[in-house]
Symmetry: C2
Subunit: 163 residues, 2 copies
DNA sequence: GAAGATTGACACGTCAATCTTT
DNA sequence: AAAGATTGACGTGTCAATCTTC
């Protein structure tokens, strides 16, 4: 036998699962990012643009955008800076409350998405959605939702109830 | 109706799945990293230490270690630098081929893992494995393996066949 | 004085170039 | 000249401090 069993905790299956999640996601991410960057878009930039495009009025307040995205508040500022310089996003100051800024995707930004999406979707399909068959995929997505509800409660759509 | 439907590709379910994977993993990772860092270990450092501890002789060549981990070759050099300075890892030059170095976890490194693991496992359980019930978890892990086989072929245990 | 957003200082990881050994 | 590993220059994101508006 090898030297592997000397610390029983090292054999814990939770460690394996965690490792698997890390490796898998980093693998998928590497492939998808590489495709995006061939088209001149950073992963973070793409994430922001997509969220803006899918929002009503094509815009969101900085804070909300940060909460929805993978980025911190200040990280988002930086990304929007770059997107702004490139002409893909505008910053619009709120009229009533002038502390608030909205990031709004421009026509150029929408055009950029338009250009990138076909290849992006194909890549996602190759590296992720197309790998599982439909029932597996459905179960996988359901599991992800369940986990997200725990680790990122803010993003849960079930909480959007108004009152 | 809102402004959401103006670009049909934006509604593609593959986009949703991809976003879900990103958010979920970043959420889990944030929680787990925060726990590790309270105990004075970086996520990358932990990843490296765990892999070394689980390897025969408690060591691996730099290149192999990089291939197995989330890090690039040079990124790994940097992490091992820090771990070395802290006394958790030794670099050992190969006797026959002196281009090759092995990173080997020290007793202090093993002790560190020992100290950190209980809390880490509990955190992983809270944020990931404990969220799903057993059948769900099994299916989830199976799906991850399937995806990893595609996006990171090198890491597949089925390829470890000898000859 | 607290909320919204930005900035400065810094830590980390990557790519391309380099050094050493084969 | 190719393989293994490291280093220099750089881009990106974070935390804490700051500025502005409420």
């Amino acid at each position: 036998m090898g030297e592997r069993g000397d610390l029983p905790l090292l054999q814990d299956p939770r460690l394996t699962t965690m490792g698997l999640l890390l490796e898998t996601q980093s693998g998928v991410r590497a492939i998808v990012e590489s495709d995006l960057e061939e088209h001149g878009v950073t992963a973070s930039a793409f994430e922001v643009l997509i969220r803006l495009a899918r929002s009503p009025d094509h815009g969101l307040r900085m804070t909300e955008l940060a909460a929805q995205s993978t980025l911190s508040n200040s990280g988002l500022t930086r990304v929007v800076d770059r997107l702004g310089e490139a002409g893909y996003v505008d910053r619009i100051q709120h009229e009533q409350d002038r502390r608030v800024f909205h990031a709004v995707i421009t026509d150029a930004g929408l055009a950029l998405l338009h250009k990138v999406l076909p290849s992006h979707l194909a890549t996602v399909d190759e590296a992720l959605t197309g790998v599982l068959d439909p029932e597996e995929l459905a179960a996988f997505v359901a599991a992800l939702r369940k986990i997200r509800r725990v680790v990122k409660p803010g993003a849960d759509p079930a909480l959007t109830a108004r009152t």
